[in-house]
Symmetry: C2
Subunit: 176 residues, 2 copies
């Protein structure tokens, strides 16, 4: 048992012990699972702004020249795709470790289709957001195809950002 735990810890550099501890805590006290996450965004003029999360360095945001920005950073809809990709990466690493699957390499390509009419004010009541998002996951592993399919289904079924995008979330925006 101790040997198994040690081996599991070493797979994918994932601290499986921390996750097991959290799962145990949540099962004892379900309220621990009720989390609230925060971010602050400060406008820097034009279409430039920055995201502040906890004590981390600000992350820049801008729009391409063609959309009226100064093109100094990824734009918000690209950041959204990045958030989904990073979430899936965590999911693959966590679930692979739980299943005893070693990941050699993992690269995730994301793309989304967005019609600019609504954003540009040319289609009142239209959809300004992504109409569809497609993700292609390149996962290099020696695990069997069956194991990898099981891994994939677990990841898709438990992805916080994936579920947020796939469902209609109540978003309340108040002008203070």
């Amino acid at each position: 048992m101790t040997t198994n735990t040690t081996i599991t810890q070493q797979i994918n550099d994932v601290d499986i012990e921390a996750i097991a501890d959290l799962a145990e805590t949540i099962q004892t006290d379900p309220e621990v699972a009720a989390t609230t996450w925060k971010a602050n965004v400060v406008w820097n003029g034009g279409f430039a702004s920055e995201t502040n999360v906890r004590d981390f360095a600000p992350v820049a945001s801008d729009e391409p020249i063609s959309l009226g920005g100064s093109d100094t950073a990824a734009n918000p809809v690209e950041q959204l795709l990045g958030a989904l990709g990073n979430c899936l990466a965590v999911g693959y690493a966590a679930n692979a470790t739980g299943l005893g699957i070693e990941i050699n390499d993992l690269s995730i390509d994301l793309e989304g289709d967005l019609d600019l009419h609504t954003f540009m004010g040319l289609n009142p009541n239209g959809n300004a957001g992504y109409d569809a998002i497609r993700v292609s996951v390149a996962l290099d592993s020696d695990a069997t195809p069956e194991k990898l399919t099981q891994l994939h289904q677990q990841v898709v079924g438990t992805s916080p950002v994936g579920h947020t995008l796939g469902r209609a979330v109540p978003v309340q925006i108040d002008l203070a």
Copy 2:
């Protein structure tokens, strides 16, 4: 007319000319509005990964220690909130400029509630994503409350990330 254009251009450092050009192009050729945005995410071991967009420097992602990460960067669900805030910042800057409203300062606080049971594999078929997202916008401007309400409604009605979160988007995730 030329004078007006010049004045408008100087408000909020927004290149309103570029936006007007794009709107005109889209009205002539609607296909121009059909855009596809991309990102790539590379896993770096454990729960660390990075987002790559066009030629910009990679942006780091990680999870807090309590979730099994090494806490070196904002996590994906925080990045998602940041993407929404940055999108709204662009929306306020663009629409304010169109309405002739000068923005002195703009800061946006975002938070979202997320129950960890599903992510932790403790609630099969549950919602792993945000149950609700709340945004508080602090906008400092000398414009009238009526004008600011109009601005706010325009922004909320045309936000690409806001609409993406507020609607169920088809997300197709394929293991290559």
